[in-house]
């Protein structure tokens, strides 16, 4: 299509959303359901923990973050789960997402896995839930492994994590009854390389002014490539369609439908579950467009070197430590988050940067000054919010809106 009709393109995105839902249902949810019905193998693990391996072994898996998100917050049961966890004696300071996941676990609402695979990242809350999962009595007979992820990110550290995981293959094979086929793993990894490449290229398109689409597409692209259908050709095709449609919008100079872009900013943390109560309002009131979030982040994903089993696992470790957003940003020096935020602000021509500082991200709460000083140096207005991106009762979307409004006004970004 050489010329772009705005309406037609909107239809493309509607279809992409429907297809994303179908892809998730087919690739992810259906396998989980099959487990529940037929007791086929399942594993529980951390977020983004070597998903290529699970696809290659056709292992349905789930992880606490996703269960907290989809099993509670996205069906409106988040507050109930958060409060329920506290009543069960859990830590009051724990991230709401992990509280919800822990609640589902402790109330017996998560399917019993055939194996538990854990790693010591990406935050205290995640590892705390790992410990809960390990000591949950009804799962006492479930075999488990716990591998150590280095805080260091040098070559030796990547090899350290990769080697531990590789050494766990016999364990996983024994626990699940599935064999790992190296050729199949290589195929999946090569497909995954294509997906990560497309995801990066797509995210680069969002540098355009006006921004061609809303920031949540970055997260959807991430979920497709990493959570829903990692290494599956149908996900590659989906990402290609997303890229093509967005490239056409950029070429045609189209911005977000119905928004006259006046302020460009980035919300550099997880997109809130209450996004619909904040971002459209900022668009309508100020023409303020969010360009980027933590999971839609445009870091280049390390390419998996498929030349040997060892190189594959070392590459997967690299992906986990420096590609996976939570581990990259949270389980790293403050300067990594700060530099990434500064680069986004510069590359995406941001007028302002917002650090939501989700209350569960204690590492972020301890990085405000460092990041603020970095932004002062480059002269881009910077705001720390301090909200709970999952539980809006902590700070209501109205209050967040007011904070951001005042910030925009004080920074002289309104009335342009």
């Amino acid at each position: 299509m050489n010329t772009v009709n705005n309406e037609a393109v909107v239809d493309v995105y509607t279809q992409l959303k429907l297809d994303f839902a179908a892809l998730t249902a087919k690739s992810f949810q259906a396998r989980l359901n099959k487990f529940v019905e037929n007791k086929t193998p399942i594993v529980a693990c951390n977020d983004d923990f070597f998903p290529e391996l699970f696809t290659a072994m056709e292992l349905p898996y789930y992880f606490s973050v996703r269960q907290g998100l989809e099993g509670a917050f996205h069906i409106g049961k988040g507050p109930e789960a958060v409060d329920g966890y506290s009543e069960l004696g859990g830590s009051s300071s724990l991230c709401s997402l992990q509280k919800a996941a822990a609640y589902l676990l402790m109330k017996g609402m998560l399917p019993k896995p055939i194996a538990i695979l854990m790693t010591s990242t990406s935050c205290d809350a995640q590892t705390a839930v790992n410990e809960l999962m390990s000591n949950y009595q009804p799962w006492a007979d479930v075999p488990r492994i716990s591998v150590d992820a280095s805080f260091e990110k040098d070559e030796a550290s990547m090899a350290y994590l990769g080697r531990q995981w590789m050494d766990c293959i016999p364990f996983i094979e024994k626990a699940t009854g599935r064999k790992l086929d190296l050729d199949r793993l290589r195929d999946v990894c090569e497909e995954s390389n294509k997906q990560c490449g497309l995801m990066f290229d797509f995210q680069e398109l969002r540098r355009a002014a006006p921004s061609p689409i809303r920031a949540d597409w970055g997260f959807i692209a991430y979920m497709t490539a990493r959570w829903a259908a990692c290494g599956r050709p149908e996900a590659t095709a989906w990402l290609q369609r997303l890229y093509d449609a967005t490239a056409q919008r950029v070429k045609a100079g189209l911005g977000i439908d119905g928004v006259k872009e006046k302020i460009r900013y980035a919300w550099f943390d997880i997109l809130p579950c209450w996004s619909d109560k904040l971002f459209p309002r900022l668009e309508e009131t100020f023409g303020a467009v969010n360009l980027m979030d933590l999971y839609g982040f445009n870091a280049p994903w390390p390419v998996i070197d498929t030349s040997s089993l060892e190189s594959i696992f070392t590459s997967l470790a690299k992906r986990f430590l420096i590609g996976n957003p939570m581990t990259r940003q949270i389980f790293a020096l403050s300067s990594v988050y700060g530099n990434d935020a500064v680069n986004i602000a510069k590359d995406f021509k941001c007028d302002a940067m917002i650090m939501p500082s989700h209350v569960g991200h204690k590492d972020g709460s301890a990085s405000h000054k460092i990041v603020k000083d970095m932004f002062r140096e480059i002269g881009i207005p910077f705001l720390v919010v301090g909200c709970d991106v999952f539980d809006e009762r902590y700070m209501s979307p109205d209050v967040v809106f007011e904070k951001i409004s005042t910030f925009f006004e004080t920074a002289g970004l309104t009335g342009r």
Partner: protein, 391 residues
């Protein structure tokens, strides 16, 4: 001391624990000695001692507020971290020649970032990456030991280059022996508390333990030997206690916490604390040819760990039950800081384990400063009365 005797050695320990600096540390500095501050028992003091340094375990003693640290840390961050960082910024730690921080938790490792960013940084600062899981029994800790050894070797090399020193194998072995001696002496100190009327109460023991991480080690060991000799010759305390207690959780630096227990007729006879019994249970292999590996192994496998280490809960429960038996404990008090996810979660699990074992259990969340002492005192009193009856 519980018997009422206050030897000069004991006064020395109390003084060292009651302030950040102390005369022994000052004398060491005056003689040209260098001091390295470090956080967490995961960081091996042996490495510093082998380099000729005095290892000083960081604490916030004397802190009244976090005004300076608040520019760097949010109120959602751990109060221990904020108070110690405040002391660092206020110049209380001016005597440090270096600072080593571990990667244990989200709060603690940000001290490294912020200390580097702050104007008051020490000349030498290092973030030591240590394993955060024990792995699984089949692994036998092997990958973690090898990794931690490599990180210790890196720290060693960095210190050697920065301070122009050499940390040799014989020096490391000698440092291991010295620190093992401390562990054995401190264990003897704890063993004295198994008696029906312990000579030392909780605050006194805590002071002696904290002093150990603040003084030149040879001097500390010698003083502790002297004190143990004095205690051996002392008559049992005549004081009656209505409940023998174990406290569990992160470090307790504030003596008034123990007073809340003492005031209501209880006595802490054993603990699972950062400055306490956790560090005296085992010793490091003195004979192995590779002392760095021995040190790594101890810190990966042999210590009773705090919940920052995944997989440690089972061992913690077993350690607590063992201590409850050995020290004839009537109840366990789990105390922690509000913002601590690892301890907070561990306490939820511990509650169940204690219930199953039939061990009375009280959980209290607290701040670094004893601002809630009235409320805490009431809860302690109720707990002590419930398990031991009033005296």
């Amino acid at each position: 001391m519980g018997s009422g005797a206050k030897s000069s050695v004991f006064e020395k320990f109390l003084k060292a624990a009651g302030d950040i600096t102390n005369p022994s540390l000052q004398a060491f500095k005056d003689n040209g000695g260098k001091v390295i501050g470090y956080y967490c028992p995961f960081i091996p003091e042996e490495l510093f001692i082998a380099g000729g340094f005095l290892p000083f375990r960081m604490r916030g003693t004397g802190s009244q507020d976090t005004n300076l640290a608040d520019a760097y840390f949010d109120s959602l961050n751990c109060c221990f971290v904020r108070h110690t960082f405040n002391q660092l910024l206020s110049g209380k730690y001016r005597f440090l020649d270096g600072l080593v921080i571990g990667t244990g938790c989200d709060h603690l490792r940000r001290i490294y970032d912020n200390a580097k960013h702050a104007a008051h940084q020490t000349a030498f600062i290092h973030l030591l990456d240590h394993p955060r899981t024990m792995g699984t029994p089949e692994m036998n800790g092997e990958p973690m030991i090898t990794y931690y050894r490599s990180q210790l070797a890196r720290l060693k090399e960095k210190m050697e280059n920065h301070f122009d020193i050499e940390i040799t194998v014989p020096r490391l072995k000698s440092a291991i022996k010295l620190c093992n001696e401390t562990r054995r002496l401190q264990k003897r100190l704890y063993d004295l508390r198994k008696s029906a009327n312990p000579l030392l109460n909780g605050v006194e023991t805590a002071a002696i333990m904290m002093a150990g991480a603040s003084m030149p080690r040879e001097e500390y060991n010698q003083n502790l030997r002297t004190l143990l000799g004095e205690l051996d010759n002392s008559s049992a305390s005549g004081k009656k206690y209505s409940a023998r207690l174990m406290v569990v959780g992160p470090a307790i630096e504030d003596p008034s916490f123990y007073s809340l227990i003492d005031d209501h007729g209880g006595i802490v006879v054993i603990d699972d604390l950062c400055f306490g019994a956790r560090t005296v249970q085992n010793v490091i292999d003195e004979e192995a040819p590779d002392p760095l590996r021995s040190i790594a192994k101890y810190h990966v496998l042999d210590m009773p760990f705090c919940p920052k280490i995944n997989g440690a809960h089972v061992h913690r429960v077993s350690f607590i039950k063992n201590m409850v038996d050995q020290f004839r404990v009537d109840g366990v008090i789990a105390q922690g800081y509000v913002a601590c996810d690892p301890w907070g979660t561990s306490f939820a699990l511990l509650k169940e384990s204690m219930k199953e074992a039939g061990i009375p259990y009280l959980r209290v969340d607290r701040d670094y400063l004893p601002s809630q002492s009235g409320q805490l005192g009431t809860r302690m009193q109720a707990f002590i009365e419930m398990i031991g009856g009033s005296i």
